[in-house]
Symmetry: C2
Subunit: 277 residues, 2 copies
DNA sequence: TGTGAGGTTCCAAATATTGAAACCAAGTTT
DNA sequence: AAACTTGGTTTCAATATTTGGAACCTCACA
């Protein structure tokens, strides 16, 4: 893990895009940062960056520590994220299924979604200890070398896939990591055929995993779930025994999500009232 | 719980402030919303709102469901919130203390911070069941009628307090709710003297709680912790027996936070490298 | 085919953003 | 103590963006 700095020149979307860039930029340092540190790794000129930080701080999107003169992501984000997690993540729907899967397998279970080319873990069950909060949910990881990442990419539409592929870094984590777009594309093809992905120590040595995509009935990719094991305690044969179960759970979650998100299978029946009014 | 709409005319901070307003506005509906629903409750004209939604969606701050044509808070917020929670909340520091407190008391324990006049719960221990994830952290509540809220307000500086007081709604939740600024100010005075706050069924009938502020040594208010009980199982006498313990934990958290946030008690000793570089 | 509601796009006027440079405050060096 | 740094904040005119009324789609429905 190197420096958190580095500015993403990509933005667009005018002021809003730039503001989001700044937000990411601050978050990328995994600690409170000084203005000058941000400036060094930013594309924005001094005054501009300064004003962005001001505005974002005013808005509570960043928090400023006057004693240390540092900026960090602000608490307003936590509040907003709560809404995001509740409303537009699969977590609330998937929760009972993850519980069951975790109980049955006794292994670590992940639920992930795709966010700007990265895997975003939205929920997790850890074999031994109870849930760790945000320390897990909200965490991001690479897509090209994780089970959930590949499972999701494999079921992306053409243009979305290209976009995501272009966002991968292909850093070699282990000697099994796929480090070229072509190698990855080949694997995605296999995954598409088999219906599930494997991570054979591609991200961390000793860590293997199987993953299935969560799809709607019209094949829109919503996320993925995975069961992870360590090579010390098990081999792929044992892990793959869970594939049918995993797949079924993924389908159930997909169906639930579908039902929840599109209650109007029947074109009559207005469903504009859910809990409001 | 009424309609989630209602536009906050307050914003400032130019485009960034407006964008944040839109974000809040979407989050306020506690469900995915249609464009027109937002428009109805928004101060922005059609075209303007439309472009904000577009940009925010592009940026992943909102997510758009093309099938239902609805907007909801986006996953990028979850990623950013993870950073916020890790870096600028008290939760990572307070965790072991909350664990201990929860174990000892056997009651529900909260850790909260203040966010734009509201109580934001950043962590929680529930007596019986294990931690519920975002469903708790990130949740907000009123400040004027909760233990943690009052404990925090009581130790705010003059101007900050005025700002926060002006943001309270003074809705009467129970017949014990303090519903005027003056009544609240009086209570805050008492709290300041005693060093802890009580919530005597002011928010929910049957729910009582004690709360202590978390302060730095130079009296900057960082947050508050509380122990909650129900009148069915205990009375105030029993609950208040925990005050000394609660206060000590609050002090410990404050001290830890202090140490963590201001490692340079000694003016020499540059600590600019923590993990970066 | 007509009508209306919900969304999307145009375009000139109004406004906010921009960033070089000046400025200020502290701390360092000579 | 004066002259330099370094880090942060403010100014101000040029410029790019945002703005929002209105026109325009598109699709469901009468």
């Amino acid at each position: 893990m190197e420096n958190g700095g580095e500015c993403k020149p990509v933005s667009g979307d005018g002021t809003i895009g730039k503001a989001c860039d700044v937000l990411d930029h601050v978050a990328a340092f995994q600690r409170p940062v000084r203005f000058s540190e941000l400036l060094d790794s930013s594309a924005f000129p001094k005054a501009t960056l300064y004003r962005f930080l001001q505005s974002l701080t005013n808005q509570g999107m960043l928090s400023y520590d006057p004693d240390r003169q540092t900026y960090a992501p602000g608490m307003r984000l936590v509040r907003l994220a709560h809404a995001a997690w509740t409303q537009s993540s699969l977590a609330p729907i998937a929760r009972p299924f993850l519980d069951a899967l975790s109980r049955e397998t006794g292994e670590t279970v992940h639920l992930a979604q795709l966010d700007s080319g990265q895997v975003l873990y939205v929920d997790k069950r850890n074999a031994a200890q109870p849930i760790e909060m945000y320390s897990q949910a909200g965490k991001v990881g690479p897509a090209y070398c994780t089970g959930v990442g590949k499972a999701m990419m494999a079921f992306l539409g053409e243009e979305a896939l290209n976009r995501v592929l272009s966002q991968q870094s292909y850093h070699r984590f282990t000697d099994k990591t796929l480090t070229s777009e072509q190698a990855l594309r080949d694997d995605l093809e296999r995954i598409r055929n088999r219906g599930f992905a494997v991570d054979d120590e591609e991200h961390e040595p000793g860590i293997i995993c199987i993953a299935c995509p969560v799809l709607t009935s019209n094949s829109r990719m919503l996320g993925a779930i995975s069961v992870t094991g360590s090579t010390e305690r098990m081999d792929f044969k044992q892990l793959e025994a869970w594939v049918p179960r995993l797949r079924r759970v993924a389908e159930q979650i997909g169906a639930e999500a579908q039902a929840w998100r599109f209650p109007e299978t029947d074109p009559n029946h207005s469903n504009d009232r859910m809990q409001a009014t």
